[in-house]
């Protein structure tokens, strides 16, 4: 009775909802204090972008169906979660030139908290040596609009779910379908992402997925720290190798520091779950990611300690692979081959921490996974990991 479901978009059925707001009054039931709002942006490079704002009373976040079901920004109380990119989006895919020679067009739309890189490929761009197809940097999924979007609210439990379907299709080449459900519940300090990727073709298809999850100030700052149960850590390149000693700590925004990238493997618990915690210098605020290392066995850490105006940001990036060109990753066995009709499932959770106690608890959870192991820190780029 109090299970409310609203289709926001159904392209084949010719249905697109007008901007609307869903509240406890819309839904009925005992759950209180939440709000879901559909907004359509107009003008500039955002023209035509739809946003779904979800506020569960504790955590608020914004889903972008027009950009492959990415998550734009989140907020818990006065803690902004996400980052300030010089790109002021969200940017409609039509203003993101993925096919541009040189392969850097993806960067024109890069301003989100959570961006998927995939599905056919991610990492560096290339002409695929087998299919002769252009594989743009970080793939196409973040610049493909959903064709079907639903919001469901359970008025009894206060559970809110946004589900979107995004097709990455090219006749003869690829037919992958992402069905993403982003879920939260009244009062929860986080949300979960449940992604199903289906190969709708009859032949096996290569698939790659990397969650590019990005954080800036105020969480990030001088002395901010990453806690992960690392097994191995290696720099991607020579520049990163020079800063390997501080791989899990962050400097203040600094002009002239180059980006750094580290490749990691992480320990997990008996249920294959691992956790990463990013916290500020004072240990009073933080954010945790949780996921399954069978689904996402490789972890990339991106640090861009640039001045605030240039995008001071770190990316925590669990993936099916490292973000090298797909042909390199294929050679190293880091491309998923989905059988015809097959599917892969990915589950991720993000939790915001706003007290020292919450951060401590999250830190203990990571320490428990590490179980006292000292990570093996490799001081040079590893041949099978780094393409450079």
């Amino acid at each position: 009775m109090a299970l409310y479901s609203q289709v926001l978009l159904d392209v084949p059925a010719g249905l697109q909802a007008e901007p609307l707001e869903i509240t406890p009054d819309t839904v009925g039931g005992p759950a209180r204090g939440y709000r879901v709002r559909l907004q359509s942006l107009r003008g500039g490079v955002s023209d035509g972008v739809d946003l779904i704002h979800v506020d569960n009373g504790t955590l608020a976040f914004t889903v972008i169906p027009t950009r492959g079901m990415g998550v734009w920004k989140a907020r818990r109380g006065d803690l902004a979660i996400g980052w300030e990119s010089p790109v002021r989006g969200p940017v409609h895919p039509r203003h993101v030139p993925l096919g541009e020679p040189g392969g850097l067009g993806w960067l024109d739309g890069f301003d989100e908290l959570l961006v998927r890189c995939g599905l056919q490929s991610n990492g560096a761009s290339e002409i695929d040596p087998v299919s002769r197809q252009w594989l743009p940097m970080h793939g196409r999924i973040a610049n493909l609009p959903a064709s079907h979007v639903t919001v469901t609210v359970d008025g009894a439990t206060g559970e809110i779910a946004v589900t979107g379907v995004v097709a990455e299709v090219r006749f003869f080449f690829v037919n992958l379908r992402l069905t993403s459900t982003i879920r939260t519940r009244v009062g929860q300090p986080g949300f979960t992402v449940h992604d199903e990727i289906e190969n709708l073709a009859t032949a096996p298809a290569p698939m790659q997925l990397l969650y590019h999850i990005n954080f800036g100030a105020p969480l990030l700052g001088e002395g901010a720290r990453l806690h992960v149960p690392a097994l191995r850590v290696a720099p991607r390149d020579a520049a990163s190798a020079r800063r390997i000693d501080g791989w899990d700590r962050y400097p203040a925004p600094t002009a002239g520091l180059p980006e750094e990238v580290f490749f990691l493997t992480l320990a997990a618990d008996a249920g294959h779950r691992t956790r990463a915690l990013l916290c500020d210098a004072a240990g009073r605020r933080g954010v945790s990611l949780g996921y399954d290392v069978r689904q996402l066995p490789w972890f990339t850490l991106w640090k861009n300690p640039a001045p605030l105006a240039d995008g001071y940001v770190t990316g925590l990036e669990p993936g099916t692979n490292f973000p090298n060109a797909r042909s390199f990753e294929r050679g190293e066995g880091r491309v998923v081959m989905l059988p015809g009709g097959g599917r892969a499932v990915f589950d991720l959770e993000l939790t915001a921490h706003v007290t020292a106690d919450e951060v401590s608890a999250a830190g203990r959870a990571v320490a428990q996974l590490a179980a006292g192991r000292v990570p093996e820190v490799l001081r040079t780029p590893q041949p099978g990991w780094s393409a450079v």
Copy 2:
């Protein structure tokens, strides 16, 4: 008095009609049982696509002004005419990356019954060796929106015509204008396409046009057959050569079969008209194409006997040329040079058959054109026809 005309789109005049429906009540006059409907799609990769649905009481079809006046799908009673592409469109041109390196972007929008390939070029992509201009695969016309669209209905005769104007223009390089009229009449089992292509430039301009007309199930199926008054048949490549013996028959959808392409010339009657008939195994349903071999002297047959999910489809493709790169076709004399201010006219008809009698009659018409000639079947790719 009963001649009704409605401008649906006139960009310079700032006029775009809202979704509307035209019926005998709108038009007046004795003709009954038809309906024309303008629809605007929203969301996903179809956002902003306009569709014109024409139903003459016997045959229904959908024109896409936003995609160069292509015809999306048709239906006669329970016979669906067209195909099920893995691409779920119609796709707005802004989501079709024609400029993508490698030249395969056109495939992102490929799901129509009738797609024009042209006007400046069609076939394989290349950088034109003379002009240094990028010529994307199958050209730009199917991904250019009409700038002027009119619907006319004659309430006395029941004739319905949709006319659209599409400009393929690049300063310094090309200024071709397509004016396409798609016409039917109450009760007719088909429609005609009348295309005029004008070179609005003062200098002569190369022009190519190929009608990529695509059929899948249920018409296509194991034992389906193509009847054409072939003079010569040659495979495009080695893979097609291996299957030359069954060039006019179709297998069931089959995993692992590669696409096949055959190049043909067809006989015509004294009025230069020829016909092609595709019919199902039982000979109970079919579709005929009719056209003028002076306008469209070359016929390409594309067979993609893939599983249904991957796009089980055949393309019957009358053209001014074979779909090789334009530079190759130019060398073989298969590029039309339109003088400055000159024009070319193309006339095509499509008829659906839904009884054994209709199919038989259509088959006899083809046989009459063949006049007992046995086609010359060449077993290897022909140097002047195949670029591979």
Copy 3:
């Protein structure tokens, strides 16, 4: 009290005005006889383009916020100012394939009176040898939509100003912001352009800006003449060198004449202002440009004496550089390096002349700048100026 200000677009605030009209009745105050109108185009390649029509009672012109604050056309009485391009726009940026291999896509949207070429680069396309970034022909600014637009009218003085903000941003590569104010006053025969370009990044950034200001018939015609206080004139290439003697005169529209390009430096007054006058053969109609040679030290003259249907047009192009590939210009010191947080300012005025007296006065102003100097006319392409 009679200072009226209306935000037409503010993307972050979710504000886009509906089509509207601003008249003296809207504004109040003594100024009379003007009108400002916001129009949104629908359909074809113009779908989604906003236009701001400004009419000060003497001069009318149209600003295109969707195309980087270019000026589409102007008119003084029955004198049309601008040109008739074979491209029938204005064309929405999504239909302009800047990333197309070969780099000619910009030409698909080229039909304006005033187009900015920049901001990161202009001139011939290239992959930048330092950053490895694609630099499309004439840059991106004309195909980027404004994100903030305001119209201000002073009801007392009759001053009308349109201000737009356009961001040219790519994470890691560029963060330039154009704030352009196009201003006129009731009764004035012209308008001014005041552009501020800010480097919002912390590191120095290369910047180039060229105003591609284009005129066709009826101003342009056989015997039309350019009056500029030229110091030096040189042809860009061999074809232009052959026509160096007539560099400041125009032939009638003629089939088969190639485009010509001349590179110039101009004299200025003590305040560094210079002027260029284009007038018709009879000396009865003309248009003047005024600008500061410290801001725009190089002047490119483009002549395309083609038949009317092909775009009979001349471009007067004051710039920070000549429109060669940026790497060439950098080697010659013609790239502005904006410090982090730095800005550059550009001021331009355009005035229409509709009587012999007005043209004479404008001609005298140019002659005064020339001060009797005979320009140094170089008969061959100059190594440091021409990349060809």
